[in-house]
Symmetry: C2
Subunit: 488 residues, 2 copies
């Protein structure tokens, strides 16, 4: 792409000025439509150091109402960000519906730098390319416009610009060590960037190369690409995305109805096992803290199945400085305005920490599906999107444990009634719980489909038979211990 | 306090067990009330290194539903956090209404460490003590229960424990360099902590010392203090707080009606001044970026006064990588569940960056006051709380610029009508705008009171006469340039 690139013909100044005015007008007009159709626009400004990304960006945003865009400079990740999956700092910065986000530097640098500086990381590079492609595709499928721009300048031009920036004390800080390295190893960088651009050049999220030698010309190219892309995205705002085949190894799992719910533990067995398991887990927590392994424990299950008490028996054994419990309710406005996985990315633990989710991203294929909070195409696509999300966590080195807490319909009724009749427990039971109960059969069908489609080898589901809460608690503890030990 | 402390008498084991059971029961019962009355509880676990804060914390939280508490370990601030006011990382972690937050290490360490390690920072220490006292008082006044615990152990005991932790490879990482330093300089630390505890021991947010030599005994002390404090806070949940006298130097400022709104600029004057000012601001932005000075620009004003266009003329001159515009709408649920300044603390810029707020924290004394979204005691208290907030920003070294964009009633009507009649502008005008207009006189009175009570020497208000938008824009640019230049 970069190497055999047919540079577009630069127009004469008069023509350039005319086209720029035209593009500006169109962008101004598009803003109302973007707001109305809730289109989120993510623009990646990639390219060589000193290629003028920043100054072109400064020009572009003058045409946009400052309340509707944000700009983030993606320097090297912070200490904290290094303890999250590599896409974390990008995912958390995706724009809200109806707004622009400009990233000065996207993920190109993050993916290519280790290839450039230590030649041997081929496998890591391949894995990251897959992550990037999935990430960009998911954004598009979830209604995002992603515009990827690469600013191209020659080695000589780059050298000249670095010299000029260096001279002025007010711009000197803009020049990074890496910019010089890049200029010194220009050919090598060129090859690696070329490869990256080819590897991530998807039809639905394509690359655009920008001839960045002359600023005004660069500005025009960016403006025209942006305006064109927005036009297309606005036209497609109602379109459905293809449902992809599952690409991950699945583990077969029985239907809910096939589990034996008669399993019990006596109080004595329970006390003994509880104390043994919690002791063991306490030790393990220390080790994974030291080895910096992240753990994600996801709870789903019927209302009143005993999730809360189950979680409590896990966390009792943990050092409070090393875990967090995230109760997941319906999304708040700023969460609903983004990719549905955004709020979970935002709550990922640091390496060495444990995050427990009390209800999860599987809401997409249960409540959101059944209550019509998203379109059919959305939840149909979600099985794959969720597998991809969990694959990301797996690549990062996380232990992923997913529990479905299972009870039968009669047991639920008993517990609802008991809650209703116990003053301190009444807050735990709402009209919504009763309404959900009426839809038991539909939910059961949805859950079975979910279990079947998302029980992957790297993130299998575990069913906790919880008619006897004691049995379920011990089973959960043992699974947690076992799954973590596999990674120690 | 620490030195002449009357240590409480440790009960015999049987008595201890009984009291512990009793306290646990009470804490369990309190949780429903905490949820119902929306009480946020912030617990600070302070004290010597290796005094067992973490392990007692682990015991305490076993009695709390994991969905209703969070724990944060306050290590040294990150690079990012160092570029915010020192209270930032604590303020952003305050709990939501109805929930607990336990901080393993509060702000004691942050305030005392520089005194301990470089003896000469007296002025800085005094300033931070004032900040801490204001912060804690504001939390309390805004309905928070803040429980401050200091874990006390002897020098010998600390030395013994550090040795034990060191021996085990799974706990070795828990021992910080500073813990040894502390043990070596125990007397000096004791003096500094003693001073800090005295300085921050306010009646409404008092300190509790914990004899931490024996774990179970420490646990009981913490449990009993916690349960007592919660009881009191629940009883006081409806109480009003005293209105404090203003403690800051005020600048006198005319009433809105006294401004001359006939000021105008010709198109030619405007073009010329705009280009000159923007050029100047562009240069200044580079300098403050380099010098790492943070800038906060706050816009308030009548609907249709021209805030948006005014902001745009400022941001056009700025490097997009160094500013952010924050449009402020009504708070989302997770924002409403916290101190009303929380969402603004969350949006503070890094040093060297500019944050523009399109509507601000002054909503408290305007819309929230007039629409009854908060109680009278709340907005009455807010003038002082806001001055304190801005003092915090001033102490941090920020440039604070507050604009009131002023138009008269007739001009507003013209602009509303014009918006109504222009299809691309219709989204800018809502029924709410018309409703607010009906309350013009009430708002004017509230604004005059606000201007009078919050125009401090470190954060004065500037009125932008905006019947002629061009005049207002140039005036704003000049004030921004002037205010920043004062700090360069």
């Amino acid at each position: 792409m970069l190497k055999d690139w047919n540079r577009p013909q630069q127009p004469n100044p008069e023509e350039l000025g005319k086209r720029l005015t035209e593009a500006r007008k169109r962008l101004a007009a598009q803003q109302t439509a973007i707001k109305k159709k809730n289109l989120p626009v993510l623009v990646l400004m990639e390219g060589w150091g000193a290629s003028g990304k920043g100054s072109v960006l400064g020009k572009i945003i003058r045409n946009i109402d400052p309340r509707f865009f944000k700009v983030a400079t993606m320097d090297m990740p912070t200490e904290e960000e290094r303890r999250k999956p590599f896409l974390y700092r990008f995912f958390v910065r995706i724009p809200e519906a109806g707004k622009f986000m400009f990233l000065d530097g996207g993920w190109l640098d993050e993916v290519t730098r280790s290839v450039l500086q230590n030649n041997d990381e081929k496998a890591d590079y391949r894995r990251k390319i897959e992550s990037v492609k999935r990430f960009e595709r998911q954004l598009r499928d979830n209604g995002y416009l992603v515009v990827k721009l690469f600013f191209q300048i020659s080695r000589r031009e780059q050298k000249k610009r670095l010299g000029l920036l260096e001279e002025d004390k007010n711009t000197k800080w803009r020049v990074a060590e890496f910019d010089y390295w890049q200029n010194k190893h220009y050919e090598k960088c060129m090859n690696v960037y070329e490869q990256y651009l080819c590897d991530t050049n998807q039809a639905s999220v394509p690359w655009y190369l920008i001839d960045a030698k002359y600023k005004k010309w660069a500005e025009l190219q960016v403006m025209e690409i942006l305006v064109e892309s927005i036009d297309t995205a606005l036209k497609n705002s109602e379109s459905a995305s293809p449902l992809l085949q599952n690409a991950f190894p699945l583990k077969s799992i029985p239907k809910l109805s096939e589990y034996n719910l008669k399993k019990t533990l006596t109080e004595e067995e329970y006390r003994k096992e509880l104390s043994q398991c919690q002791k063991k887990l306490r030790n393990i927590h220390n080790i994974l803290y030291r080895k910096k392994i992240p753990v994600i424990i996801a709870y789903e299950g019927w209302d009143a199945a005993g999730k809360g008490g189950n979680i409590k028996r896990i966390t009792e054994a943990l050092d409070p400085r090393g875990f967090e419990v995230h109760p997941i309710a319906s999304p708040e406005p700023h969460e609903k305005a983004r990719h549905y996985l955004w709020r979970f990315w935002n709550r990922l633990p640091k390496t060495g920490h444990i995050a427990v989710f009390d209800r999860t991203w599987y809401g997409r294929v249960m409540v959101e599906r059944l209550e019509g909070f998203c379109k059919e195409n959305d939840w149909q696509r979600a099985y794959n999107e969720i597998n991809e999300f969990e694959k990301e966590l797996d690549d990062w080195g996380a232990v992923i444990i997913k529990f479905w807490v299972q009870i039968d319909k009669e047991t639920q009724l008993e517990r609802f009634t008991q809650r209703q009749n116990t003053p301190e427990k009444q807050w735990k039971i709402t009209d919504e719980d009763w309404r959900n109960r009426e839809k038991w059969d539909q939910y059961e069908e949805a859950v079975n489909e979910m279990l079947k489609k998302t029980s992957t080898s790297f993130a299998p589901w575990h069913i906790l038979e919880s008619n006897d809460k004691r049995y379920a608690r011990i089973k959960a503890l043992k699974i947690v211990i076992n799954e973590i030990e596999k990674k120690l």
